[in-house]
Amino acid sequence: MELLIIAPLVLALVSALGSKWNKWLSVAFSLVGFALIAINSNSVYRAINEKNAFFNIVDMPWLGETIHFSLGLDGITFVLLLLTNILIPVIVLSLNSDKSPAMIPLILFMQAGLNGVFMAQDGILFYLFWELAMIPIYFITLIYSERDSFATTIRFFVYTFVGSLAMLASLIYLGSKSVNGSFAYNDLYNVQLGLRESIWVGAGFLLAFAVKIPLFPFHVWQPNTYTYAPAQGSMLLSGIMLKMGLYGLLRWYFPMASESIDFYQPIIMTLAVIGVIYGAIIAMRQDDMKRLIAYSSLSHVGLIAAGLFALNSSGFMGGILQMFVHGVNVVGLFIAVHIIERNYGSRSLNELGGIAKNNKAFSILFFLVLIGTVAAPLTNGFPGEFLLLKSLFDYSTTYAIFAGLTIILCAVYMLRMFQFSMLGEETQGTQNKHIPMIELLPLFILAFFVISIGFFPQWYMDIFQNSTKGLLNIISNAKGVLS
């Protein structure tokens, strides 16, 4: 599996040298490569079938004896790897590489970092990959942003960096407590913290993850970055990077600082639910499609975070499924916006309209992804949202009712976006232009997932069902130790 980290780097170097076939090469390699890796390794079989949370697959000393280059794998990790290595080629496909030569190497570099984040089984290694994934996106946004790139990106970078440093502090603290200062996942997990210190450690983790997810008050970097970043940047950020935060909650925060969960649960829940409604209400009034999607993503992710913090199996299962689904949907939406902007030179709802007239296929695909986001049944959005709301309901009816408003509000702003961009009378901007079929290829790929998850979610849930059980056991045991 470590090939998942090495291969993209090599590929990045290759594509950095530049050739007009970069795009297709990289896509082919990352798809085929991932397929081969996934099929050949029997550890994937283990990951899916054993109820064994995060077993080790690679382990070699990296810095002294305390830090090992150790990668782990289980169902949860695998499903996120699946997401990453499917979305990255899709994103690369959606890009017209002649305009932005440096993009592909950076994206591939980032792919390596992301794969690492999801597999890292050593605290410091996790932090390392966490930052490694940040660097390319920083440069992507910096180089290809449309306006005041430096101000936006430096704010985004520093803001997230502060969070990451808080996490580093927590990790260092845990490491200083663990047996002979080792940062291995299990050693850190075995550290027994008192309530106060675990609250501090948890604060460090939560800050990092809340910024990355982003949770309600910590989302300030998000709208501008999503809006001004190049479309691919927004896709990477919202589609995959944001999952790093949620994954961090699952994999690192809950087991490591489990004593503090009871303390943080109500706070985070409230913030998340506030974020759900807040994002939705703001999204209802946006004119810039990307900004609209940014706020909608804030709302959806808030729901996921709340579901995870409900700490019951339906919440976890739904949350993890929804991570995958949200990645697919939001990337689909951004691709659609990207296509519209590329062909009609605007993404302002006021200037658009009537695109559906000449582009039937595009409008169908767009609508498919859109109702996926709205979580209509038989699309991928529904199962996750259903489970999340259920878990919230089991936690507290009030929260469920408030969070449930999202299924109304989401319909409002998403359909509004569709109405004003695709339907209605054509504007002079959008008159009889046809979108080339080739640009729709990524959307076709995503549409497959929208439908297949919508009809057969259990196929996907089976991947991480056992591992989630294992993880839940770990967490409940850890909580049990204290209480």
Partner: protein
């Protein structure tokens, strides 16, 4: 010892041989000498070869290099080599400038090995006196003159302070060997109150060293002097002086380990002020060079945090940090020197070099990441190890240091604002030269050490 000998006699020889050669021709030779010195001392540290026979006449234990100190000496030598090598030579005959740099390098190495107040004092002076001169080596430059005089006066002043402290230490303990000082005190004093002479002396001596490593509030000389003096001299000061200063400081404090809890009480505030102050002030600098000066101040702060805990066992961490700091700073100074030919000294000098000079752009990025401590470079490894080893004793200090390094991002990354501009004027065509090879080597070094830090465990 061997390094000092090689460097000194090599420099002497070159001074006489190259009396009327262009400095450009002597660069390679001198860097060769430095390289040999570095290799020799490194080999000695790994006990591949031993030069004890050569120095059998050395009667006393005033100078003793432990392996780590030898490695750090090697690092200093290589740093000096890089600096001598990549910076362009000045238009003048003879190599007195490079020679002086090598002399002061001798002083720096001497400080590493000093176990005795006198030797430490001599080391400091041998390190400083050539630098006083070098700061003004560009004689017609008024800034250079001012820098030189400022540095000299303040340096001499700090020397006086240091000496007073040394005298008190001597008076308090009756010896000048660091490691005997506390042993000379009577048993009760080991655990109870330490004699006021010792305390005062230690404070004053530390002030002298804090001045050398330019920790706030003894930093006033460094921004001005860096700005005034020629770029390569500034780089030399920023790197060699800091390495030597901290190595010596570590030597001294490791002897006073029993007093650690005491000296932490007043050194912790200094280091925190240094970290935060250095970073915050660097934030508002217009000149990139001054910004680098303040960033080096903030690095001094991080290192001071590290000194706040029992040092002996993991002094190697110090070495790793100094190595990464030196590499990064050297490259940043070099790039500044290369592009700041005109009046403009702000970051806009780097405008658009990613197109015209990709290698330089890469070097700038990697070096910035190194000094900022971003992963995938040695900088992260260094900073991480520094913080982890300092954490148990100074938790809050480390937290503040983390905040400081978060602040530092926003000024380190300033060049990226213009780096990717589509530059109107092309700053020279991209060509493979000896310098660019060295540069590439340094960049790869930073990256490889960052990705395979296991190598560091072998080096240190």
């Amino acid at each position: 010892m061997i390094a000092i000998a090689i460097v000194f006699f090599g420099a002497l020889a070159l001074l006489f041989l190259g009396i009327n050669k262009e400095e450009k021709q002597l660069q390679l030779a001198s860097s060769l000498i430095l390289g040999i010195a570095g290799l020799a001392v490194f080999a000695e540290s790994k006990s591949m070869i031993s030069f004890d026979a050569l120095f059998a006449w050395v009667p006393s234990s005033m100078i003793a290099f432990n392996p780590t100190a030898q490695v750090i000496a090697a690092v200093m030598a290589f740093m000096a080599m890089i600096i001598v090598n990549i910076f362009p030579a000045v238009k003048r005959k003879g190599m007195d400038i490079i020679g002086l740099m090598m002399f002061s390098l001798c002083g720096g190495i001497l400080m590493l090995g000093s176990q005795h107040l006198v030797v430490l004092f001599l080391g400091i002076e041998i390190l400083s006196i050539p630098l006083f001169v070098l700061a003004g080596s560009d004689k017609d430059n008024l800034f250079g003159n001012e820098a030189s005089l400022k540095y000299f006066l303040m340096g001499a002043f700090s020397t006086a302070i240091f000496l007073l402290g040394a005298a008190f230490l001597y008076g308090g303990t009756g010896t000048m060997y660091f490691h005997e000082m506390l042993l000379r005190l009577s048993f009760s004093e080991h655990f109870g109150e330490f004699p006021v002479l010792v305390k005062t002396g230690l404070i004053l001596v530390s002030v002298g060293l804090l001045f050398k490593v330019s920790a706030i509030p003894f930093h006033f000389w460094s921004p001005d002097v860096y700005e005034g003096s020629p770029n390569r001299i500034a780089a030399f000061m920023a790197i060699i002086v800091k390495i030597a200063g901290f190595a010596a400081f570590a030597q001294l404090l490791s002897a006073f380990a029993p007093m650690q809890t005491w000296y932490a009480t007043w050194m912790l505030p200094v280091s925190i002020i240094t970290v935060l102050g250095g970073n915050i002030i660097a934030l508002v600098q217009k000149s990139y060079k001054r910004m680098l000066a303040y960033s080096s101040i903030s690095h001094a702060g991080y290192l001071l945090l590290f000194l706040m805990q029992p040092i002996q066992e993991n002094i190697r961490v110090l070495g790793i940090y100094l190595l990464s700091y030196g590499l990064g700073t050297a490259i940043l100074f070099y790039l500044f020197d290369k592009y700041a030919q005109g009046e403009d000294k702000s970051v806009t000098i780097f405008s658009g070099i990613s197109k015209s000079q990709p290698l330089d752009a890469l070097a700038l990025i990697v070096a910035t990441f190194t000094v900022a401590g971003i992963p995938s470079t040695i900088g992260f490894i260094a900073k991480y190890q520094l913080f982890t080893s300092a954490f148990p004793s100074v938790k809050w200090g480390v937290l503040l240091a983390l905040i400081g390094s978060a602040i530092s991002i926003s000024y380190y990354f300033k060049p990226f604002r213009v780096l990717f501009n589509s530059s109107s004027e092309v700053k020279g065509a991209f060509s493979i030269t000896w310098k660019s090879v060295c540069l590439l080597g340094a960049v790869l070094g930073m990256l490889i050490l960052g990705i395979f830090p296991i190598i560091l465990n072998w080096i240190f």
